[in-house]
């Protein structure tokens, strides 16, 4: 009884701050809730019509979800791989260079997403961007190309942006894990003749399983919800329908149209989806742990 008593204040705060908004979002998702409902304060129940509309939207299945899922997979793999590489590099550096390098990484991390996105837009700008300039200067390109109109090149730029912004977190977290790997184990493996690749994949990676679980889950959640990095790109706010992702689509379809009920339904579905992904991942990690 006593533990619950002690937990009560914290639970109450959580219930008020987290649970109630969640319940509200769910209740909104069952209504056609717009500006008029806001003014009058009267509910407008429509059952599961919002959910039906979302799940039967052809745009969702042919464009939005493939873009979102494909992008999330690539960017999670990219961010984690690159971040881990940088962490290994950092671990092998001396104190001075480690400080220098990690400060540089922190700068990338500290840059707000909006600022970073504009820098990438400038780099790939059709008329004055440095990328087109170099390609044309070296004769690889005759005329300027607008990289933002094509689905693939558009997302390649978003990928660069998101990996650039996301890898420092992975690098720092994995570095912390790396420094915790017992030196004796690595030395023993080296004595047994294991090369550096073998040592990395057979000793370090298994030791860091939980660290990887955390960074992968967090990256998945973040990369699924990418918004500013797409919305701010030329054509990304909805005028190029082939690059819509879940974040932008739900914003345009709900907030852009004052359809707050519809937006809430999308939020509920996204939460369920991310919960499912997380649950599956945590289970696999735990299952391997037990083995």
């Amino acid at each position: 009884m006593r533990p619950w008593l002690l937990l009560t204040p914290a639970l109450l705060v959580l219930a008020v701050l987290l649970l109630w908004p969640l319940v509200r979002v769910f209740l909104f998702s069952l209504q056609d809730y717009g500006l008029r409902e806001i003014t009058t304060g009267e509910p407008n129940w429509i059952g599961t019509a919002n959910y039906a509309e979302i799940l039967t939207s052809p745009e969702l299945w042919t464009v939005v979800l493939p873009n979102t899922v494909g992008f999330a997979v690539l960017s999670v793999v990219g961010t984690v791989a690159f971040g881990t590489g940088v962490a290994v590099l950092l671990a092998s550096l001396g104190t001075f260079w480690r400080t220098v390098t990690s400060s540089a990484i922190m700068a990338a991390w500290a840059m707000p997403a909006v600022t970073g996105t504009y820098v990438w837009i400038w780099i790939f700008d059709a008329d004055r961007g440095v990328f087109n300039d170099v390609l044309m200067g070296t004769g690889l390109l005759d005329e300027p190309t607008n990289w933002f109109t094509d689905r693939w090149s558009f997302y390649a730029i978003v990928l660069l942006n998101v990996i650039h912004h996301g890898f420092p977190f992975v690098a720092v977290t994995v570095l912390a894990g790396l420094l915790g790997v017992p030196k004796e184990m690595l030395e023993a493996a080296e004595m047994d003749g294991a090369g550096s690749f073998r040592r990395f994949f057979s000793i370090i990676v298994p030791q860091l399983r939980q660290v990887f679980a955390v960074v992968i889950i967090l990256s998945t959640i973040w990369d699924f919800k990418v918004f500013a990095q797409v919305y701010l790109m030329p054509g990304g706010a909805g005028s190029n329908r082939s690059v819509l992702n879940l974040g932008v689509w739900s914003y345009v379809e709900s907030f852009g149209q004052n359809r707050y009920g519809f937006g809430s339904a999308i939020a509920v579905l996204l939460t369920l989806l991310l919960l499912a992904i997380t649950a599956i991942y945590v289970r696999t990690v735990l299952a391997e742990e037990e083995r």
Binding site: G34, L35, R36, I38, T39, T40, E53, D125, A126, D127, E143, P144, T145, N146, F148, T149, P234, G235, A237, G238, S239, N240, R241, S242, V252, F255, G256, Q257, N258
Partner: protein, 430 residues
């Protein structure tokens, strides 16, 4: 509208500034007797560079006339729509606020605004208001937005490039195309005419100029006319300048109006559809451009003036205003006479009162007169529907433009898809 068009003007300063409510020293104000309280007002930031000074004067005059204090709060355009919605939800709306012309029917439909007709009639100023702005502020046959100020887009051109290429400002579409060809020959590396893909208000003049319609209301049903033969003719001409003539640039496929302004200010563009509020920004961005550009009204297909959207603001009274007479006294003070004229002069926009415009019309300034002519003779409104904001949020017109300019669809396909989507969203069914 207006969010996009005024972005360049919005100062990049802090989110919301509380204006000095001034005149705290003067006795008599702040009493509890009726009509002697405080009037809360929201004004968009960045339209007038010296808005605080302006409202200091207004506050003083308002207090002198009514004994009430003015509480002006400046709101960023980017935040404003969300702030209106949350304050409507919470019942904490100001008494009077500046509302972008496309927001007025939306908030009126939501029941947040108070109709102004009886006040306007009582004041006898109904006939002196700019038609296009009255139209934009009228919802369900009632006036909810008092015309305050507006701008209009015309064809702005680089006089130096025109002289060098030996071409004249166009008065018909054929002349426009010839001018573009002449510019391209003289300046193969520059943009003869900028055809931006993400700027809906630069598209409609060509639709209207060819005799087409953006959308029309019949009974309760909206129908978009973007796919009519006339509209397709106009859209085809405008996009054809880029896709067939090669007079625009591939980068412009994703340009917004701010990008057009940047490129024009850099001296890279021969002509472009730009707003009457942009000359100042062009010179600010590049002082070398001073005196090197001028404007003409957007030509209709075979001459005349093609209609162009009046983009601007109303002053609206909210239902939450306790003392509506006091609120209208302020609205009238702001939108007519001396203060309206001052605001127009300081901000570079045109006032919403016809009698004030006459003076502007007599101007010979090459960067005022053509815009004024366009404003009076060729001003139009986007469809006045509470759902038009939703069409803008979906970027229906930009989607059409971008798909044509990037070669993903032809004019017929793209305009048909856009018209279907616009009709659906305007009627509130998707």
């Amino acid at each position: 509208m207006t969010r996009a068009m005024r972005r360049p003007l919005v100062a990049a300063t802090g989110a919301v500034l509380l204006a000095a409510t001034t005149a705290a020293c003067g006795g008599g104000s702040g009493g509890d007797t009726e009509g002697d309280g405080t009037l809360s007002v929201w004004i968009m930031q960045g339209t007038n560079p010296d808005a605080e000074g302006f409202f200091d004067d207004v506050s003083a005059a308002f207090e002198e006339e009514t004994g009430a204090t003015l509480d002006v709060e400046f709101v960023e355009w980017g935040d404003a729509h969300n702030r209106f919605v949350t304050s409507i939800a919470g019942g904490t709306t100001p008494d009077v606020a500046e509302t972008g012309t496309t927001w007025t029917p939306e908030f009126a439909d939501a029941g947040a605004l108070a109709p102004l007709d009886e006040y306007v009639d009582a004041a006898g100023i109904g006939d002196d208001l700019v038609e296009g702005l009255v139209e934009a502020g009228t919802y369900d046959e009632q006036l909810y937005g008092m015309p305050w100020y507006a701008g209009v887009r015309s064809l702005v051109y680089n006089t130096e490039m025109f002289e060098q290429a030996g071409v004249e400002p166009p008065t018909t579409w054929a002349e426009l195309e010839d001018a573009a060809a002449g510019l391209k020959e003289e300046y193969p590396d520059k943009i003869a005419v900028a055809v931006p893909g993400d700027a809906e208000f630069t598209v409609y003049p060509w639709v209207w100029g060819a005799g087409g319609e953006v959308a029309t209301l019949d009974g309760d049903t909206w129908t978009s006319g973007l796919d009519s033969p006339e509209s397709q003719d106009g859209i085809g001409f405008w996009t054809g300048l880029a896709t067939e003539g090669g007079y625009s640039s591939t980068g412009a496929t994703t340009w917004r109006e701010t990008d057009v302004l940047d490129a024009f200010a850099a001296g890279d563009v021969g002509m472009a559809v730009m707003g009457s509020w942009t000359p100042g920004a062009i010179v600010d961005a590049n002082p070398d451009m001073e005196g090197k550009f001028a404007a003409v009204p957007i030509p209709g297909k075979d001459g005349g003036i093609a209609p162009s959207v009046l983009g601007g603001s109303h002053l609206s009274m909210f239902e939450t205003a306790e003392d509506k007479d006091l609120a209208f006294t302020f609205i009238e003070m702001m939108t007519t006479g001396e203060f309206a004229q001052q605001w127009g002069e300081q901000s570079g926009y045109f006032p919403g009162q016809v009698s004030l415009l006459d003076e502007t019309l007599e101007s010979t300034d090459p960067l005022v007169a053509p815009f004024a002519q366009q404003f009076v003779e060729g001003g139009a409104s986007v469809p006045v529907a509470p759902t038009y904001g939703a069409v803008q949020a979906k970027l229906t017109t930009s989607t059409m433009m971008q798909s044509i300019l990037s070669g993903d669809a032809d004019v017929a396909e793209a305009s048909k898809a856009a018209a279907e989507e616009m009709t659906g969203v305007l009627n509130g069914s998707e």
